[in-house]
């Protein structure tokens, strides 16, 4: 039986970006806040120390910082007529485990979504008519607007010390920035990173075509930075070990580098690690959460009472927790009723490899996770979609994230796959090759969803989460369009050769694409199509909130972390200034 612990005011499930932000905000109220994390405690030193972190085999190949599927996984199928099987190896996406969450191993690409992204259905219907949206596409407005989120985007940018060039300050378009972005109240806290030579070539080519390239917003510091909490970051060294690694130099924003130093000093904050939260407990009415149940490393079960429960785990895990805890009506794609698990979405990516003659030295090893140059002409609804017949878009960018030997190299199609010929091709191309990426949005659909697997169970005997997902024609069409535009830029870079790699066929969970899993707890203004309201509060159980990308009703053509950060500050503000003053539903319908 579970040992009942003394109550706390607020329990956070998970201890990554969203929990860290909330903990910092909510401990200011004097309330007792407890974070429960399934992984271990991690700190810059010793866990990500420069003495050992640049170890590609250990961290990138052998998944040093990620969830272990043997301990926690999900089942997957492409369509409802298939039988889902457990994901026994990580591939397409890489959820984190441990304090700091994926905020430790991300690249630092910190975008804001476009203003239209938050009102995608009403905007699309208005511009192109209702019939432009396919009948099985279940996209919806977020219930929150860009204007409402802007102060919170700003807060996250300044927490992280984002390096970038503003494109739109209070409606004034700024030269050198992204002219398509929503208006921001002020510029980035830090200037852009130094450019790699490959991004210089991309910038020149894109400009020649008539596009408006700009430096990608980066949570890698271009200079020393002290954030508003007084926490100091060192300048990025361009070591090229961001993605899938922790930063040993205090220069990639993470909870460890930006928030935890002050959080550790708050006496009303505590955390527990190596604890799996298995349930959010409800009272007999089913309308009020009483706390959570968790299992510690020794298998002991504890009940942790709390007045407020906030789900801060990885996207799919939040959905699983709600389903297992019977919070909200589970989604049923047959009857098209219910909400929990509905509107799962992802990201569709493609690339164009670019090979120069040996004389063009790009030195790819001098990189940073978000060192890149991008164009945004073909994102969201920045262009007229009417001729193309699809919805959505994405940015096209040349990233110099690094030149790691095992996984970060590009070889021409005709290069041998092994042996002396392969080695020669590597030697010939390593310094002179690069790649242009497209980062496409994924809409939500009636048959793309999460539910409980009928067969497979986890180590506690609970059903695994089942993911049913495939790319739809809209996404293939859109991604093909982006790939063509990327190819255009690649050609303008005048390389020796290039190799477009479109994303064709069914979604496969095997090759890595992105860890941008979204949806399942969609936010919105209608309880019949959303799990949480515009303040990320559960419609059905008002003392449960859900953070993270699981609340995205569909995914935009950007990396999600900037929007996750903004939504978290937005929700924290609502909890502090609305919910705690009068606990109860913040939106009446």
């Amino acid at each position: 039986m579970a040992t009942k612990l003394k109550p706390v005011d607020i329990v956070l499930v998970g201890f990554g970006w969203t929990a860290s932000i909330l903990a910092e905000e909510l401990t200011r109220t004097g309330l007792q806040v407890l974070a429960i994390e399934r992984g271990k405690y991690r700190d810059t030193v010793p866990d990500f120390a420069t003495t050992h972190i640049q170890d590609e085999l250990r961290y990138a190949v052998r998944n040093g910082l990620f969830q272990e599927p043997a301990r926690d996984t999900l089942t997957f199928r492409n369509s409802m007529d298939q039988t889902a099987l457990p994901m026994r190896h990580l591939g397409s996406f890489l959820p984190a485990v441990g304090v700091g969450g994926a905020g430790v191993h991300w690249n630092g690409q910190t975008w804001r979504f476009l203003p239209q992204d938050f009102v995608i259905r009403s905007h699309t219907e208005q511009r192109y008519g209702k019939s432009f949206i396919p009948p099985d596409m279940t996209i919806q407005d977020w219930g929150v607007t860009y204007a409402e989120l802007e102060p919170h985007y700003d807060k996250f940018d300044y927490l992280c010390g984002i390096s970038g060039a503003a494109g739109n300050i209070q409606g004034q378009i700024q030269p050198g920035g992204n002219p398509f972005e929503g208006p921001r109240q002020r510029g980035y806290p830090l200037p852009p990173l130094k450019r790699s030579y490959a991004t210089v070539l991309f910038d020149k080519a894109a400009s020649e075509i008539g596009f408006h390239p700009f430096p990608c917003p980066a949570a890698n510091t271009s200079a020393a930075y002290t954030n508003p909490l007084g926490v100091r970051m060192g300048p990025c060294t361009y070591c090229g070990y961001c993605e899938w690694f922790g930063c040993g130099n205090y220069s990639k924003a993470s909870p460890q580098v930006t928030i935890l130093p002050v959080l550790r000093q708050r006496d009303n904050f505590s955390w527990r690690t190596h604890c799996d939260v298995t349930r959010i407990n409800l009272d007999s009415s089913g309308k009020r959460a009483t706390g959570v149940t968790y299992v510690d490393e020794q298998g002991r079960q504890f009940e942790q009472p709390a007045d407020l429960v906030i789900c801060c785990a990885f996207a799919q895990h939040n959905v699983l927790l709600l389903l297992l805890s019977k919070i909200g009506k589970p989604y049923d794609p047959i009857t098209n009723t219910g909400v929990v698990g509905r509107n799962y979405a992802y990201q569709i990516t493609s690339s164009v490899d670019v090979f120069f003659d040996k004389g063009t030295i790009l030195n790819p090893f001098m990189g940073a996770g978000a060192l890149g140059q991008a164009i945004d002409e073909f994102n969201g609804d920045n262009f007229d979609h009417a001729p193309y017949g699809f919805i959505g878009g994405g940015y096209i960018a040349l990233w110099t994230t690094g030149g790691r030997p095992i996984l970060q190299h590009h070889l021409p199609q005709d290069a041998p796959k092994w042996g002396a010929g392969w080695k020669k091709a590597m030697a010939d191309n390593y310094l002179s090759s690069t790649s242009i990426a497209t980062h496409g949005s994924v809409m939500s659909y009636r048959d793309a969803y999460l539910d409980l697997d009928p067969t497979y169970r986890d180590i506690y005997g609970d059903p695994l989460l089942r993911l049913t997902f495939d790319f739809h024609p809209n996404e293939h069409k859109m991604s093909g369009f982006l790939t063509d535009k990327a190819t255009l830029i690649a050609e303008a870079m005048k390389p020796r050769s290039l190799h477009p790699k479109p994303r064709d066929g069914h979604y496969s969970i095997v090759p890595y694409q992105t860890t941008h899993n979204t949806g399942g707890c969609a936010m919105g203004d209608d309880p019949n199509t959303s799990v949480v309201n515009k303040y990320l509060q559960c419609w059905d159980v008002p003392n449960v909130f859900v953070m993270g990308s699981s609340v995205f009703p569909q995914n935009a053509g950007y990396n999600p972390t900037g929007t996750i950060g903004a939504l978290t500050y937005w929700a924290a503000d609502a909890i502090k200034n609305k919910y705690l003053k009068a606990p109860g539903p913040l939106v009446q319908v």
Partner: protein
């Protein structure tokens, strides 16, 4: 007054009342002001650093003080009547601080800095006694010292005291300013700075004529000189830089490591700006110490320098930069650092071997850490890289050899990394104690916030 301060203040008041009630016969009335003053003085004297064991209860003692002669365990300062100082009268307590003699007439070992505390005024000692009377009593018996005979016989300290100990309250130097005198009182008395920052003789006594010229802080840590020397003193530091360092653990010239991080966290960060200014004034008016002239670059040899530079570029430049200047406000400079150029290189070796963490007071909460290199560098590489940083960019210091590295390595676990546990005041275990454990005794957390502003100062 914010909520937190109000809580602390009321807590102090309640404790004062409780203490008074339990000591109805005690003559002097203890006011909340006196308690707050006592707390301030306890912090200024850095009592917590030695009298709290790692993960131990505050002031309950039991921390092993490693001296060249053996290990001496700190005693229990809580008001527990059996194992603490709960039965000690004010007079007995004063005897300990002023004369180095305990309540039963036994001599203390000078690991307890009574040779400095003897300078304290009676009123200050009484305030300290009053404050210690309010901390939660802990039953924890003193651990016997681990010293060889005859040092294990406390009577041997009579001889030591005859040779090296001059009892006597601080006497104001009327030819100096009040600020200078206040600084002298804090540095030479309560702060007992020279206990670490001075050379000692074979019996562990400070060499009086070389006071504050740099000395062992035990366990191979070398506390750099605090004289006016430019190279290995604070001659190049402005008063404001001294104040900033003591208040926050770092300035543009240096950052705390090892035991000094503890001193900042447990003691100097709590001092008023007036007191810190006084310390700076006193230190800056000290003369430069005679310095051994360090060998020229040639003594090291071009090959050794090149080997060291190669190691430095591969392992150190990401933070400390090619030019050794670090990053202002973030990573401390090595160029021009008095700690790095100290005649004895124990601190250099210690830090490279086991890493270090900067102090993390609320004013500079980051607590940046350097990782341990002991597992990565062999002894020869340690020698090369340390000789390089002691000679590059205009730095000059005596070269080190492999024997020093071996000696430090013997005592410092090579796998040691600077966990936050090392900073006692913020004893963050990797899982913080459950909230309610802390709450039961908020007054006793060694990291309780500073005393109410109204009670600061003198």
């Amino acid at each position: 007054m914010d909520t937190l301060h109000r809580q602390i203040f009321s807590h102090l008041a309640v404790l004062a009342v409780a203490w008074l009630a339990g000591n109805a016969t005690a003559a002097p009335a203890v006011s909340p002001d006196q308690l707050a003053r006592g707390q301030y003085l306890v912090r200024a004297g850095d009592c917590a650093s030695c009298h709290t064991a790692q993960h131990g209860k505050p002031f309950a003692g039991g921390r092993g003080i490693v001296t060249p002669f053996g290990v001496i365990f700190s005693t229990n300062l809580t008001p527990d009547k059996e194992s603490g100082i709960g039965r000690w009268t004010e007079k007995q307590f004063y005897g300990a601080l002023h004369d180095g003699v305990d309540d039963e007439g036994h001599h203390l070992y000078p690991a307890m800095p009574y040779p400095w505390y003897t300078k304290l005024s009676r009123a200050d000692v009484d305030a300290i006694h009053a404050y210690l009377g309010t901390v939660a009593p802990v039953r924890q018996e003193a651990r016997p010292v681990q010293l060889p005979w005859p040092l294990s016989w406390r009577g041997s300290m009579v001889g030591w005291n005859m040779l090296y100990f001059d009892a006597g309250t601080y006497q104001t130097d009327t030819s100096r300013s009040a600020q200078w005198n206040r600084g002298a009182y804090l540095v030479e008395g309560l702060g007992h700075c020279s206990a670490c920052h001075s050379p000692k003789n074979v019996l562990g006594a400070v060499k009086k004529h070389e006071s504050l010229e740099g000395g062992s802080a035990n366990e191979h840590w070398f506390a750099p000189g605090l004289g006016g020397n430019l190279r290995d003193g604070v001659g190049s530091w402005s008063n404001a830089e001294i104040v900033e360092y003591l208040k926050t653990g770092a300035n543009l010239k240096s950052a705390s490591v090892g035991p000094m991080t503890e001193v900042v966290m447990n003691s100097t960060q709590y001092l008023t700006m007036a007191d810190l200014d006084a310390i700076a004034t006193y230190l800056k008016q000290r003369p430069a110490a005679p310095t051994k002239s360090p060998p020229e670059m040639a003594a090291l040899g071009a090959d050794a320098l090149a080997r060291g530079q190669a190691l430095y570029i591969d392992n150190c430049t990401a933070c400390h930069m090619d030019d050794g200047r670090g990053v202002a406000g973030v990573f401390p400079p090595l160029a021009g650092s008095s700690a790095i150029q100290a005649d004895e290189a124990g601190t250099d070796v210690h830090v490279v071997l086991s890493g270090s963490r900067m102090a993390a007071p609320a004013s500079k909460p980051t607590g940046l850490a350097m990782p341990a290199f002991g597992w990565k560098f062999d002894n020869a590489q340690m020698v090369d890289v340390i000789n390089y940083i002691r000679h590059a960019w205009g730095n000059r210091a005596p070269t080190i050899d492999v024997d020093l590295v071996k000696a430090v390595r013997k005592d410092v676990k090579p796998g040691d990394s600077p966990s936050r546990d090392a900073v006692k005041v913020r004893a963050d275990a990797h899982a913080r104690p459950a909230l309610w454990d802390v709450d039961e005794d908020p007054h006793l957390r060694p990291h309780a916030p500073a005393a109410p502003a109204s009670a600061e100062g003198h």
